[in-house]
Every structure is written in C-alpha cells, then in structure tokens.
C-alpha cells in the first residue's frame, strides 16, 4: 500500500509535466490551428536558459527562472510573427514540418555550445524530501504539482476574467466572428504562441530537478502528445487531466503489470482512447473534424 502511494505520487508529478506540455500544445493548437512539434525543444531551451542565467550569469534562481520563461515566451511570439503565421490555412503537415525544423535549429543551437553538449546540470533547488508519517515525498515532485495547480488556476482566471483571455477564447472558437467583433486575431495568435512557449519553458524548469538539464530532455514531449490527444486536443483542462492520467497509468503499470509493459502503456491507451472516444475523453465538443 505504501509502495503504491509512493509510486502514485511520482506518477502524479511526472503526469503534471506531461500535462503542462500537453497544455502548451493544446493552447497553440486551439488558438491557431497549428500543430507544434517543437514543444519539447522549447522545454529544453527553457531549462538551459534558466541554467545559463543562474549558473553562468549569476542571477538569483527565482529571477533567472522568471527571465528564462519570459525569454522563451518572447521567442515563441517572435517566431509566430516571423514564420509561423504563414502556416495558417495550410494543411496541418506544413506546420508539423515547420515546427520540427525550427526545433532542430534550436537543438542544434544549444548543441553548438560545448558545455551544453557535453554535460548535464542540476538547478539547485528542491533537493530535499518531505516526510508525512510513513510517506516520503520528494520536494521536486511537490514543486511540480504545486506549480501546475497554480498555473492552471492562473490560466483559468486569465481565460475567464481578462479581456485578452476572453478575446483569445473567442478567437479559438470562431476566428472570423471574433475578427468581426473587433478582436485583433493576429495579435491573439502571437499571444497564444507566447503563452504556449512560456508554458513549455516552465515545464522545462520544473523538470530540471527531476531529470536534470540536458540536450535530450525535450523527448519527454513525446509523451505529451498522447496526453493531449487523450484530452481531446482542444480542451485545456482535458490536456492537463490527460497528462496526469497518463503519468499515473504509466507508473502504476510499472508496478503492477508484467515487465516491459510500462513503456507501451501510453500508446496503447492512446490507441484505445482514439478508437473508443474519437473526440477525446473530455470531448464531445468540436474535436472530431481535425482540420
């Protein structure tokens, strides 16, 4: 039972990271109809940016983390202005390839720094544990879970109560009507990309104490896709829930199912979810057409 709870807590924490990346993916997809395959690279970039500002430039950790998130968000906005907006109205695969290529450039850029290519690093926070009776929780896991909850609340408030948030939602529901109502659609697209990129960077920083910062840390985004699809691709709460569900299912499968089943679980779940609920677990609402 204790082992079960221990594993569950890890699963939830990892699931939150999946969920955050899935959230960033869905946010972009919903607002701009663009499929981004560079969220993992943005995540990696966020981790390295925080690291560089903290360790190399000597900024305090909190400031470095904040600056890293802002920098990656700015990059997302800049890329949207410069290139990504050209994919609007094109087939999905154009955006898939474009973002994949941009991701390669980011990875190449980081890999050209010898120190980044050769080593992995830790960001010096959240190394301790918290003891709750017989249960021992890793501080890094609590950080992830806490930050995810706070971010989810902030996002919910943003979409509900701010002008920009409501405009963004209107834009995602029906861009043409939104434009007619005076919503600056192009600017909303930039905002969506900034938010999506920033969220990925947050996920990177939260992942830093768990997997350390290294060149291939972005591969975790591969698990975020099944999470996003499980959530129905267009639902923000669904993406987050899909991520947590996936993380927990994966961890428990490792404990209960026979050896080796753990790694297939996300994809079998994805396949099953796609076939059983073609519009997502949270779905029902406008998911199916996919174009």
């Amino acid at each position: 039972m204790l082992a079960f709870l221990q594993v569950l807590s890890s699963g939830i924490a990892i699931g939150c990271v999946y969920g955050l990346v899935a959230l960033s993916f869905v946010l972009i997809f919903k607002a701009t109809q663009t499929v981004s395959f560079m969220q993992g690279d943005l995540l990696m970039l966020g981790g390295f940016a925080g690291l560089a500002l903290h360790l190399a430039a000597g900024w305090p950790l909190a400031l470095a983390a904040l600056a890293a998130v802002l920098a990656v968000a700015l990059l997302g906005a800049g890329l949207e202005r410069a290139v990504l907006r050209r994919t609007i109205g094109q087939p999905h695969l154009v955006a898939v390839l474009l973002t994949f290529g941009l991701g390669m450039m980011m990875r190449g850029g980081v890999a050209s720094v010898p120190a980044a290519a050769q080593d992995m690093y830790r960001l010096p926070f959240a190394a301790d544990t918290l003891v709750l009776g017989p249960l021992v929780l890793a501080a890094s896991h609590l950080w992830v879970i806490g930050a995810t909850v706070v971010l989810a609340l902030l996002l919910a408030a943003f979409f509900r109560h701010t002008r920009a948030g409501i405009a963004l939602r209107a834009c995602a529901e029906d861009a043409r009507s939104a434009a007619l109502m005076g919503v600056p659609v192009a600017r909303m697209h930039t905002l969506a990309w900034a938010l999506g990129a920033g969220l990925a960077a947050v996920a990177g920083l939260l992942l830093a104490p768990i997997t350390f910062v290294h060149l291939n840390m972005g591969f975790i985004a591969l698990k975020a896709f099944p999470a996003a699809v499980l959530g129905g691709l267009t639902s923000l709460p669904g993406a987050l829930a899909g991520g947590v569900f996936l993380g927990v299912a994966e961890a428990l499968a490792g404990l209960v199912l026979p050896e080796g089943a753990k790694d297939v679980v996300p994809y079998v779940l994805l396949m099953a979810a796609l076939l059983l609920f073609p519009t997502g677990l949270a779905g029902g609402r406008g998911g199916g057409d996919g174009r």
Binding site: L93, L97, L102, G103, A111, L270, L274, G288, R291
Partner: protein, 315 residues
C-alpha cells in the same frame, strides 16, 4: 505518358550522378546514390498516402521496419534475397493495412496520431519479441546476393536500388492513372463528394496504405542489406519524420518529389559535412552546426516552396 516527360528528368538525374562521380569519386557517389534511391522508394510510400490519398501519416518508419525485419529474417532462414523482397513489401503492405483501420472512425489529425501510436507499438514489439528479432541487440543482415554473386560494391548496390526505384516509379505512374488513383484524389479533395460519386472512401484509404506500406516495406528490405545491421531504434519516430520531411521537401503531389526529397534528406547532411571540413576553427566541428543548418534547410523549403521542390499543384 509522353516520352519527353519521362526522358528529360531521367537525363537530368543521370547527369547529376555523373557530376557526383566526377566530383566525389565513384564509390562515394554510388554509395550516396544507393541510399538516395532506397530512401526515395520509402518516400514514395509517403507520397502515395499523403499526396495522393490525402491522409496524414506520422508513423511511416514502422512500415520500413516491418519490411527490413521480414527481409532479414527470411534471408537468415535461407530464402534468396531477391525472392524475399516481394515478401518484405507484403509485410509493409500488411502493416499499412493494419495502420489504416482506425481511418474508419478517425479523421485528419486524429488519424495521424493513431499512425504515430501504431509506429511506437511496432517498435516496442520488435524490441520485445526477442526470440524472433533479437530485441534491441539487433540483427546482422548478409549482403544482397544472387546465385553465388554478392552485391558487394557500391556500384552494384546503386544499380540494384536505382533499378528497383525506376520499376516502382513506373508501377506507381500506372497506378495513379488508373481508377484507383482517381479514387484517391477524389477522396483527398472531398470525401463526401467522392462517396456520392460511388467511391468507397474506406476502401480507397485502405488501398493507399497498403500500397504506401508495400513501397516502404520494399525499401526496408533493401535498406537492411545496404546497412547490414538493423535494430528497432533505427526505425523510430525520427526516421518517420525524416520520411515525412523527405516527401514534403520533394513535393507530395508528384512522384518525382520522393526522389528530390531523398536527395535533400540524404545528401544535404553529407554535403554540409564535406563543406564543413573546409571551414577553419573548432566551432565548425561542433555537431550543432550540422543540425542547425539542416533545420534551416527544412524551414526554408517549407516557407519558400510549400509545394516542394518538384512543385506542381496536383494532377
């Protein structure tokens, strides 16, 4: 099919090969040509599925893997490589047919995601089924041979790959001009309209995947011989994306797109490596530079030639 329309590009390619031989040396150029042709065959599968039938496929690498493993296992069991190739193609076709099954329920991007899941499950199966595939330790594949003769030299390998490529190009050209090709294009443009005209979209998609899978499986059979060692991770997601890039860079609407795309995907990184040797300093030696330049090529082509190098707005 008009003669000049076939001959002119053929002459262009022959000229390109001759230039490569003169500049890079015969063995190096033929080695490149072998892989370009093999990749082009695999890429044709993507061109058929995406460009003709209009379906999103994110897991094409799995079909190549199925072909490669079928070929390797059959040859190990004593089947002649040439006799095994059709079976490798059949393995790919079977994989394609399987992967296309969710198309009945899912559309567009969702279906694309299901092919991704299919590819990851295939990769996992190849790792797990150790008694057959040796798992992640991989399989050593003997050289391609025919009745005592082995294709050991790059020139012979290039000749075989190019011959197979030309043959499948001819077959595909026929196929596209047939009823089936028209059905694919109808489904691509408007599924509902196609159905109204008496075309069964599900059957058309299934056939597109079977043909696309067969082409990639065939390429996998050749690939196994040329590389000589196969392991599941070689055919992972990165490989699927490489094929996707290949098709898009070349142009998904034209069959020739696969060849142009293969040239870019296989040869550009090599070209970057050759040019890099002429650059001074330590910085040029970092691996990041190659990755960055290749990423830039992909971004550039997608932005500047959204229809691909072979162009064409569809036939």
């Amino acid at each position: 099919m008009r003669r000049t329309a076939v001959l002119r590009p053929l002459l262009a390619w022959a000229l390109l090969l001759a230039l490569a031989v003169a500049w890079l040396g015969a063995d190096f150029a033929f080695g490149q040509a072998t892989l370009v042709a093999t990749y082009a065959i695999a890429g044709l599968g993507v061109v058929v599925i995406i460009g003709q039938a209009g379906q999103i496929v994110l897991g094409q690498g799995a079909f190549v893997a199925l072909g490669a493993y079928a070929q390797a296992l059959l040859v190990q069991a004593g089947v002649a490589p040439l006799a095994a190739l059709p079976l490798a193609a059949a393995a790919g076709a079977l994989g394609g047919a399987l992967a296309s099954l969710p198309a009945g329920r899912l559309g567009g991007l969702y279906f694309g995601m299901s092919t991704l899941a299919f590819a990851l499950i295939v990769e996992e199966l190849l790792v797990r089924w150790e008694s057959l595939t040796h798992g992640s330790a991989g399989l050593v594949v003997p050289a391609f041979g025919l009745a005592g003769w082995t294709a050991g030299t790059p020139a012979a390998q290039a000749a075989i790959s190019l011959a197979v490529l030309l043959a499948v190009l001819a077959v595909c050209a026929r196929l596209l001009a047939s009823r089936l090709g028209r059905a694919w294009r109808a489904v691509r443009e408007d599924e509902a309209a196609a159905a109204a005209c008496g075309i069964a979209p599900a059957a058309a998609k299934l056939r597109a995947f079977a043909v696309g899978g067969a082409l990639s499986g065939l390429a996998g059979g050749l690939y196994a011989h040329w590389i000589g060692f196969i392991s599941p991770e070689q055919f992972g997601l990165v490989f699927s994306f490489e094929l996707l890039m290949l098709a898009f860079i070349g142009g998904t609407r034209r069959l020739a797109g696969a060849a142009w795309g293969a040239l870019v995907v296989v040869a550009i990184p090599q070209l970057i490596a050759v040019l890099r040797d002429t650059l001074p300093g330590d910085w040029a030696r970092s691996a990041g530079l190659e990755l960055m330049l290749f990423g830039a090529v992909v971004v550039g082509v997608v932005l500047l030639r959204p229809q691909g190098l072979a162009g064409g707005s569809g036939r």
